[in-house]
């Protein structure tokens, strides 16, 4: 196959829409434009049917009942609805939530908000491989604990948490278990019953669907879970999320889920093979380190630190041709490197030197070959101009130097 440039390896940020998804959506912008809540005419019925069908497609992918799917504007809204909704709904039972330090900001910042409202939040640390300690999780549970919020697969390092073990602990103590499944759903098999999940947020645009639509799974049976609506209005989505349904988006989400359902297994195998090849190619470089557990990991994600080279400087060497992300501070205005990598215990220097690769449905072998070559060349070039590399090669311990901190 011919090499196609530029190469997109930032599929954890977002994925392109699958053309099949777009085809499914198009009629719902024009001739089938109805409001799914219009009960009294055929335009409304058509839209409602489409939403119902999409709800089935979405539910099927995660082994849920269609009635357990609440459509939202995306995973951030679903994260907010789950955490704030449980906090409000179960206020009489307690006010304590357990989460972990490597969660997405949509979870962490929501938990910070809960603390402002008087809630208690425990932020579990993670081990060097990014996994939480189950004993610590169990120890953190108190009689005030109402929710455990631990993500399925991490967006930066791809590490998959021990979901079934977590849910067992949650069940044992009668605590609800919420997981942010944004990066995992559609990539690895997720089954809310087998996995023991009570609430789960996920999003269409991470699985080749459109932006602006996501869902919260809310368990209806054993236990029956309820969340307090965070958006008041017309009482849509069984009163849990008001607002006119984004019909084209929901149709696209449904189609995206159906495609994932059919192709996930083969795609996962293809991507993990490609990812492993990418990793092996780049690990040929000296002082390159894979971040996060390599066994319990999403098939399409790799996070690698190239010591003594700064991430953004590195990306500049090939960002005309290759799109990816860095844990470097320089990519954000905050000047703080990735909090996820720091939570693994990486020094700031290694966190600054990291690249995140997110492979996807449309990534080709030729693109992987090109990427290995381009990145290797840039790393070597930048190390030639890195004072830290020179010191390392001279055997100088960088920790022995008194750096001027700014």
């Amino acid at each position: 196959m011919e090499l196609k440039l530029p190469i997109y390896l930032d599929n954890n940020a977002t994925t392109p829409c699958d053309p099949r998804v777009v085809d499914a959506m198009l009629p719902y912008f024009t001739e089938k434009f109805g409001n799914a809540a219009s009960r009294n005419h055929s335009f409304g019925w058509t839209a409602e049917e489409a939403v119902d069908y999409a709800r089935e497609q979405v539910a099927k992918l995660i082994g849920a009942d269609p009635k357990e799917i609440i459509f939202t504007s995306g995973a951030t809204e679903a994260d907010n609805l789950a955490i704030k909704g449980v906090f409000e709904m179960y206020a009489s039972r307690g006010n304590h939530i357990i989460t972990c330090t490597t969660e997405h900001k949509a979870v962490l910042d929501t938990c910070k908000h809960i603390e402002k409202l008087g809630g208690q939040v425990t932020y579990l640390p993670v081990a060097a491989d990014g996994l939480i300690d189950l004993n610590e999780l169990e120890k953190a549970i108190t009689d005030k604990t109402i929710l455990i919020a631990i993500m399925y697969g991490n967006n930066e390092i791809g590490v998959i948490q021990p979901i079934r073990e977590i849910s067992k602990i949650a069940r044992k103590h009668g605590v609800l278990f919420f997981t942010d499944g944004t990066q995992a759903v559609g990539k690895v098999p997720v089954d809310v019953n087998a996995d023991g999940i009570d609430l789960m947020a996920f999003s269409a645009h991470k699985m080749y669907g459109p932006k602006g639509v996501g869902a919260l799974y809310v368990r209806r049976k054993s236990p029956r879970v309820k969340v307090t609506a965070q958006m008041d209005g017309g009482g849509h989505e069984r009163g849990m999320r008001s607002g006119t349904m984004n019909v084209p988006g929901i149709v696209g989400f449904g189609k995206a889920c159906e495609i994932c359902m059919n192709e996930m297994e083969a795609e996962g195998q293809r991507l993990s093979k490609m990812r492993d090849r990418l990793e092996a190619g780049l690990m040929q470089l000296e002082e390159a380190y894979v971040n996060g557990n390599r066994e319990h990991r999403l098939p399409h994600v790799a996070n690698i630190s190239f010591k003594y080279v700064e991430g953004e400087g590195l990306m500049m060497g090939f960002n005309k041709d290759i799109a990816l992300s860095s844990g470097s501070a320089c990519t954000s205005a905050s000047l703080e490197p990735s909090y996820v990598l720091k939570a693994l215990g990486l020094g700031d220097d290694l966190a600054h030197s990291s690249l995140r690769f997110g492979l996807g449905r449309f990534t080709t072998d030729e693109q992987i070959d090109y990427t290995i070559k381009a990145i290797s060349e840039t790393v070597l070039k930048l190390r030639e101009m890195s004072p830290l590399w020179e010191m390392f090669k001279e055997g100088i311990d960088l920790n022995s130097i008194e750096w001027a901190h700014h």
């Binding site: 003594y308 080279v309 700064e310 991430g311 953004e312 400087g313 500049m316 060497g317 470097s328 501070a329 320089c330 205005a333 000047l335 490197p337 020094g347 700031d348 220097d349 600054h352 930048l382 030639e384 101009m385 890195s386 004072p387 830290l388 590399w389 020179e390 960088l398 130097i401 750096w403 001027a404 901190h405 700014h406």
Partner: protein
Amino acid sequence: MAYSEKLIDHYTHPKNVGTLDKSKTNVGTGLVGAPECGDVMRLQIEVDETTGVISDAKFKTFGCGSAIASSSLATEWLKGKTVDQALTIDNMDIVEELNLPPVKIHCSVLAEDAIKAAINDYRVKNGMPALELEEKKH
């Protein structure tokens, strides 16, 4: 973020990458920044002892493209200047020349710091007092 052509050129074809012999008395070395901050610059000047003119300048930088370009530009500007003239290089000149965006101004400040640190190292080696340097915000 779109970078200027000059910046990209300095990043792609950096000038004066390398190392001078820091044991020589007419070589001044400035090492500024910290790995934890994501920027480390080492800038060196070699001074012609009869004329006081900077005859050579080299750098090595760990950092983003703007940091690399700022230090590359600094070495270009240093060559041919007297040590006193070199002290007048202001970070805002670098910002202007490379059209650095606001979030990257700290890279130019670091380059100015590196120049001054190299000059001070040279001064101290040659029996002159170190200059008091004003603190610029990074």
